[in-house]
Structure formats: C-alpha cells, structure tokens
Subunit: 409 residues, 2 copies
Amino acid sequence: MRIVQKFGGTSVGSIDRIRKTADIVAAELARGHQLAVVVSAMSGETNRLIEMAHELSPCPAERELDALVATGEQVTAALLAIELQQRGIDARSFTGGQAGFRTDSSHVRARIQRIECEHLVRCLEQGRVAVVTGFQGIDEAGNITTLGRGGSDTSAVALAVAIGADVCDIYTDVDGIYTADPRVVAGARKLDRISYEEMLELASLGAKVLQTRSVELAMRYGMPVHLRSSFHPVPGTMVTSEEESMERASISGVAYNRDEAKITIKGIPDHPGIAANVFGPVAEAGINVDVIVQNISEHGLTDITFTVPRSDYNKTMELMQQVCRDMKARSVSGDDSVAKVSIVGVGMRSHSGVAKKMFEVLAAEGINIQMITTSEIKITVVIDEKYVELAVRALHSAFGLDREPGQRN
Amino acid sequence: MRIVQKFGGTSVGSIDRIRKTADIVAAELARGHQLAVVVSAMSGETNRLIEMAHELSPCPAERELDALVATGEQVTAALLAIELQQRGIDARSFTGGQAGFRTDSSHVRARIQRIECEHLVRCLEQGRVAVVTGFQGIDEAGNITTLGRGGSDTSAVALAVAIGADVCDIYTDVDGIYTADPRVVAGARKLDRISYEEMLELASLGAKVLQTRSVELAMRYGMPVHLRSSFHPVPGTMVTSEEESMERASISGVAYNRDEAKITIKGIPDHPGIAANVFGPVAEAGINVDVIVQNISEHGLTDITFTVPRSDYNKTMELMQQVCRDMKARSVSGDDSVAKVSIVGVGMRSHSGVAKKMFEVLAAEGINIQMITTSEIKITVVIDEKYVELAVRALHSAFGLDREPGQRN
C-alpha cells in the first residue's frame, strides 16, 4: 500500500516523541508499505515564533509571518529524517515547496492549488521515506505560504490524494471518535467507522480531532482517513464515504459543547434587514455566531436569540446594547451558562422519529430545551449547562449507543 | 550607493537587538542608499538546533542538518523584515534559495557557484530592502545547503559582488581592526584601512572578526569590506586592496595568540617521507598544525618542532609517542604554555630590516624566541606565554603604532 502518515505537534513535541514517531514509521515500513510522512511543528514552537513577531509588531507582515512559522515544520521534518536515517532507513525531508505544494498567494490562509509530486513519488517508488512539512507551500512567485492553523491535516489529505495513496493515517493524541465523550459516558464506544458528513458535523461541534477543511477535501476525493493514536498501536476510527459504512444505526454519536453563551434581543420592530443590523456588528468584531433562532413576528415585533463562544459573551452583550438602542428594540438579555448537545448520524435521513425521541428523552429527565436547530444529519439543542452530563448520558443510552451497532433498536 | 549590510548572531540575538539593527538599516536607507541586508541566526540558535540533531544521532545526515540549521537565519530574516515593515519601510525576507544562491551539493560545507540575483536587484531598484538569510543556498536539485560555520560573511561578500554593491558593511561586536589588542596595549589605535592580505594574515592568527573565505572572495573581486560596530555608529576599518591604502607604514599591527602548544620530536632518522609520517596521523585526527620548523640534518638525524591548538595538545602528544616509536626517533617533548606573536604589514615588502628590528626588540626585553616563521607580509615568533604582553607592547611601541601613520619612523 501507499500511505500518508500525519503526525501532529504533540507527536513530535520532543526528541523522545520524535523517536516514538520513528518507531511507528519504521513499523509501517517493515510491513512493505510506501510512506510519505507529514509533520507539524513541535508543539509550542509555532506560538513561540508568533510571539516573537508580535513583540516586534502588533500586526506583523503576513508574508514574513509565513516565512517565520514555516521554519517550525522544517525543523521537525529534518529531525525525523535524521532519526530515521540513524536507524538505517532511507529517508529525506521535504519543505512544502520541495514537496511540490503550490498555493495561492493568500499569506497565513493560503489554499492549495496543486501538488507537483512527481519527484516525491519517485522517492517513494525507490523505497525512500519522504518526510514532508505540513501546513505550508509556495506560491507561483516562490514565496513561502502557510495554510493557516490546523493546515497540516489538509496538507496530509491533499498529498494523499495527489500521490494516489490508499489511506491517510492521521496520528493524534486520541485513539478515535467515540459515541460520546468517555469522560461523561462510561459506556461510550469507539466507532470503527464514521462518514465524512458525520465527521464534519462533529468538527462543527468543536471536536478538534480533524480540521474541517481536511474532511471536506477527503470527502470530495473519497480519500479514506484513519484517525488513530500515536500513543497506542490500535486501530482508530476510519472516516470514509457513507456507502462503505456497513449496517448503519440511526445515530452515531452524542456530542456536546459547554463553550456557549446565549443572547436574546426582544421586541425588535420587524422590517427587512434587521438580521443584518444585529449580526453586522458581531461579524465585524470577528465573533462567530452559531445557533440563531428568530421568532415569528407578533404585533410587528420580533425576538432574535443566538449563541456565541462564551469568551465573546461580554463583548457581544456590549455590542447588542448599542444595537438595541439603534433599532429601538425593547430589551437585551443573556445567559453565559448554556451548552449545546447534539445527536449526529447519517441514519437519521432514513429513520423518522429521531427528533421526537430526542425531545422525549430530555423531557423525561426534566431538561428544558431553550433552542433547537437541525441539519440533515444532526439535531442540536441548547440547554442549561448544568444538565449537560445528564442529557448526554440519557441520549447515549436511549439510542442504544452502548451496544454493538447491529443490536441497537 | 548600493550597499550590502551583514549582521552577525549577536547583532540579531534578541528582539531588542533586532530593533537596534533595524535602526541601523533605517538610518542608511534614509541616506538614500539601496540596501541588501544579510543576517545570521540569532546567537545560540544554530547550536540549539545542532544539539537536537545530536540527541538523535551521533552523526546526523548532513543533508538534513542543513535543512535543520537553515531555519535559524530564516527566522531572523523574517523577524527583521517584520520590524522594518512595522516602521513603514518596504522590506522583504529572502531565503538563500529565494535570493538566488546556487551552491554545489557539499552539504554543511557548500561552495557558492553563482547568485541568480535578478529578482533581488529589481527589489532594490524599487527601493525595497532585501533581507537575505546568510550561510545558505540551494543546489541544482533544490536541496538546502549551508556554507559551514561563519559562512554568513561569505554570503554577504558574494552577494555584494553579484549585485555590484559599492561596499559590503560587516557589522559585528568590535568596531574595527586595531594595531594591537587594546586590552594589552593601552595605546592601540583603530586602523582606518587595512589591505586584504593583511586581513588574511590576521585571520590566520585567530582574529575571529572576518572569515578567511570572505576576505579571499573580497580580494579576488576587489570588493571593499567595511568592518564596523553594530553597537557604536562610528566608522570602522575598511578592508581594501593595497593600492587604495594611502601612506603605508611598514607594519600595520601586532597580533598574538595564546592558544598554542609546541611539540618537538628529536633525533628522527632522516629520509624522504618523514614529514608525512609525522603529520599524517595528526591530519587524520583532524588537528590543525600551524607553525612547523625542521632543523637541518646532522649525523643523519633531524628534529621537527610544530605547534597545535592547545586543546589538541594531549591528543597530539599521544600520537607522537607512537610516531616516535614507529620512526625510531630519540624522544618527544612538548610545552603547552607557549604563544605566538606576529607583526603584520604590507609595508614589509619594501622596508628591509623589519625582521631584524623585531628580533632586537624582543632580545632587549630578554625574551627568548623559540620558533620563527615568516610570510611575505608577516613575521611570527613563538615565545614563552608569560612574555606575551611584554612582547606585544614592546613591538607596538618600537614600530611606532601608537602614533599616526604619517609620523612613524
């Protein structure tokens, strides 16, 4: 097989971790596979570099930031290649540019345009391990670019697609995707498989396991992504297209996010454009609005409720006081102790009654639902934060997630 | 004017030092000059990177070492460009490859073959400051190479030659070349000018101010090199061709080096090849032999005396015990408390009696000369270390170096 392996910052965060990563590479190589290894910067290194830049300038030139932070992965790639060669393995490091990553010129948030990987493929065919810096490339003019935070996952998947790999193994500090957070639900089970769509919904719920961009890319090209632990040599969770998933249960998992705050503006005189008036200032402040609910208009007045990350709560409340005055709305209120709980599953599409069951389960536990939002394969409710564990456990049990997929109702 | 400025590791060793370096760049730019700035890695950074590599392998792959340590200058170049842009100066960083440095493929000791500097020259002509990583380039296949320790001086001079600069300013932590070490001779004077040849002789005496390779390159292309302080904004010492030097005194300076040890093998049966027998094992051990004196043969036996760096004394003595046995020589003796004192000056060529005067001055002070070696513009003696200061002061005074050049005898 031809495999792309990707190791994140904690997997290469020290000399000792680099040795352990080399163990994993060596073991896969011994199985006769062709290997391209994509690495991140040592954990903490990117922040160290960015802090130096910020000591010099509150707003450092982005082209230079890219040249600066790109050194982080270059150091890791060289060190891992040194360790592999030390073991007699023919390995060599490649910068993004050397590996053929060509991007647009949007510094600090570049998009990969193509990968000119002929040279790298020749290396693999000769049995050489290619150690490639993630997160970076060069533009047409040869300037160093970076893909933005978390771009190493995207580098790995893009490289896997370009070289026609059979699978892209993403090594991380968790050993896969679970039906629920094992710290909350004792019976949570590791999923052997999950669909790209479900993975995207989980990522949007704050599961930091895999960058959304990389999942989208894998989905577009049908590249199987194997999420696995760099600490334990066991199979993780395979992210694949839905068709490859056997015997799907109606839902795959229960997720939650405590980092939520809720803001309500009441009694807004209803006319076209009020959403823009409310959310314009929030967007300009760089705050991500998540769930939005607008009530139907009554007596020409309407209410809007939305959630933001909890760290942006105070700032958003200030903005909304002003918006309230400008729009002559009645009042602004907020609550920074709410949480989101979601159930996710491609099986929802064909199983009716999933939403009804979810609401019944929560009601039976006496949990009040404050907001609801749904997508084709996800139902999210906003509830009081103190009920999070209760809600997650009740839903996990009610949907039979602690049993084998074939034995669920 | 078009100027190449080079800043070493201490000049960019901290965020604060980078700001001060930007002050110097900004001041030169304000004078209307075109500037290319060559930078080293932050002091200590190259060693930090190499130590990580050595933790992984006693003998790290050289191609990967180059990729690893090249990040050091890339960080500095990006940071300096950020600081310059922060001040409203149009600046951008260039890696060795981006600046057009093409080298051979001898990793960790590459030689510059050519500099494809059209792009960089266009930048300068547009009034943009080019900040270039010293010490590195790429080979024909695009692999990152480094020029070896101290290569940043060579990068700067080579770039100055390639872009047709008027001068190459080397900023360092000393403010020029002195007629003698000011710590030893109170009346030591800074030289306004020195010839390439003299500079080479001083470099070979252990003056770490300028890499020998860079001086040779400057001499070959007649590039004036201005050695100056990054701490004090005063003119330093201009290294130029001899013809440009006005009114030369017979000697330019007195230099010394304490880091010397002397070894003598006595009673070697004289036949062709004995020098190879003696110095072969030394060279194989990577030890640099400096002064060598061989006495004329007497009764078919000869003596050889030579000096090595003091840190290699014990190892060399061991090797010579073996050589002595193998060659059936009479004895080996050594002294690790000797020092070299030299007088240097292109004026020697036309002034006879310089050597005679030197020996007389030392004799008058009661200093015994143990070895003598001469070049066209340098006379070196090896003496007991305890007389070093006395010898340097006496020679400095006797040759009138504490007076203005025109007033010397």
